[in-house]
């Protein structure tokens, strides 16, 4: 599954991996804002942004080609809208949509590929994200693989049955019902697993508040790298347009 690869990347070590998660999150957001507010695609400006992210990727000792390829998942969607804009004569917009979406996706990927998700979520919580959502994402991520595996097995089993059904011309209606039944079973298993988890929590003294260890106290140096990167992004942005144009 895709998130397994990302998980592995995020557990490596490098100066980027060691940087303070809150700093990285804020730095990434600053970068994204610079990209989002740029009025049009100018090669120097966006070349600068791209170089900045690529520098981050190499400093993080991540495999460059797989990372670049993974961020490209956003291109089919952007491509469609780019084509429509280009056909309507608005090539500025066409470029903007493709380049911005890609560079932004690459930046987010760099962030997540250098910070294990639980730590990133903890950073978001400390920066003010709603606690319940954070806690739910933690559980979601923890059991995502388990439930997905179950779904895979069901899909394979269903496909086998589907093959048979097709041969007997049972038609797509029967397979539809089978799929609905599979979903219901998956729901049930998830529900029951959640109940079992809750029981296990209660058995170890859970009283309503999920307590966990505080993250390791980062040193001040953990902020240098993301702060520097953010400053570079802002500098590139400001150097290219002194006014702050609202459209786009």
């Amino acid at each position: 599954m895709h998130h397994v690869v990302l998980d592995e990347w995020s557990r490596r070590t490098s100066p980027v991996h060691r940087a303070e998660p809150r700093g990285k999150l804020l730095g990434a957001l600053a970068f994204l804002v610079c990209v989002a507010t740029a009025p049009r695609i100018e090669v120097p400006q966006f070349g600068g942004y791209l170089l900045l992210v690529l520098a981050g990727i190499s400093l993080a000792k991540l495999p460059v080609v797989p990372v670049i390829a993974r961020a490209a998942v956003v291109l089919p969607f952007s491509g469609v809208f780019a084509v429509m804009s280009a056909v309507a004569g608005d090539t500025d917009r066409a470029m903007a949509v493709v380049v911005k979406s890609y560079v932004s996706a690459l930046a987010v990927l760099l962030l997540v590929a250098t910070t294990p998700l639980p730590r990133l979520l903890r950073a978001a919580e400390r920066l003010g994200a709603p606690r319940m959502v954070i806690v739910v994402v933690q559980f979601l991520y923890r059991y995502l693989f388990v439930i997905s595996e179950q779904a895979q097995h069901m899909r394979q089993a269903a496909r086998c049955r589907g093959e048979l059904a097709r041969r007997r011309s049972a038609g797509w209606r029967a397979r539809f019902r089978a799929a609905a039944g599979a979903l219901a079973v998956l729901f049930g298993r998830s529900y029951e697993r959640a109940a079992a988890i809750h029981q296990a929590m209660l058995a170890r003294g859970f009283d309503g508040r999920i307590r966990s260890l505080a993250p390791p106290a980062g040193s001040a140096t953990g902020w240098w790298l993301p702060a520097a990167a953010a400053l570079v992004a802002v500098a590139i942005r400001l150097a290219h347009r002194m006014e702050f144009p609202w459209p786009l």
Binding site: D7, P116, L117, P118, Q138, F139, R142, F145, V146, R193, A196, I197, Q199, A200, M201, L202, A203, R204, G205, F206, D207, R211, S212, L213, A214
Partner: protein
């Protein structure tokens, strides 16, 4: 001296009406290890859930002298540690260390102390090196050991293990056996694994349809209720067939 576990006439009915427990009497004294045998659905796990107040039935249960009631639940749950059959369900925190520290933190211990206990428990089960790992990177045996560590970190007096040898390969089973043999707590072993029980337990009780119908030394109980793999019956077919 009060027994560690005292159960009188425990009855329990599920919401849909099925009678799961029909008057169970049980006693666990001192540092003994007791095995619990019985067919699936006989009420073994249901019984065990009552001991930590996860299910509430009729009758009397006392843990270390305390009745299993709301005001005592926190204390009881710190005295009795359950390791459930599905280890995946017990390792819900992002890292092994955080999971082991979950119990001590709930007990109200300060973070440094909780961490210390967690690390010590992980050492006890031989998983100290995995402290920073995520639970989904562990094998079945490793998960079971971390789950045990999570319970040991609370320093309970009684350990309840529900089918501890499921999914373990023979070396894993051996490792778990020596691990448990080295632990000082009283142990309550719900298991189908008669050999395992023989090696650990001093006595056994046999559950059937919500009641205890037999009690005594492990080998005797197993033999009396034919609770063992009859090797001759299994393999004779292969010879003739």
């Amino acid at each position: 001296m009060a027994a560690l576990i005292e159960v009188h006439n425990l009855r329990f009915r599920y919401p849909d009406g099925t009678e799961a427990l029909r008057g169970v009497d049980f006693r666990l004294e001192g540092r003994e290890t007791v095995a619990l045998f019985g067919p699936n659905g006989s009420g073994k796990t249901t019984f065990v859930l009552h001991l930590v107040g996860l299910l509430r039935g009729e009758g009397e249960i006392r843990i270390c002298g305390l009745p299993v009631e709301k005001e005592h639940l926190k204390t009881i749950r710190s005295r009795v540690g359950i390791v459930f059959q599905d280890a995946d369900v017990q390792l819900f925190m992002p890292s092994v260390l955080e999971d082991a520290a979950f119990g001590p933190l709930n007990l109200g211990l300060p973070e440094a102390e909780a961490k210390r206990r967690a690390r010590r428990a992980l050492e006890q089960v031989g998983m100290a090196g995995a402290a920073e790992k995520a639970p989904y990177h562990l094998s079945a045996g490793e998960k079971r050991r971390v789950a045990l560590a999570g319970v040991l970190a609370m320093e309970p007096e009684i350990l309840i293990l529900d089918e501890p040898t499921t999914f373990l390969d023979p070396p894993g089973r051996e490792a778990l056996l020596s691990l448990l043999q080295g632990l000082p707590q009283a142990k309550f072993l719900v298991t189908h694994d008669v050999e395992f029980a023989l090696a650990l337990a001093g006595r056994a009780v046999f559950f059937e349809e919500g009641r205890i119908v037999g009690e005594g030394p492990v080998a005797e109980v197993a033999r009396k209720h034919q609770w063992t793999v009859n090797q001759r019956r299994f393999f004779s077919g292969a010879q003739t067939g």
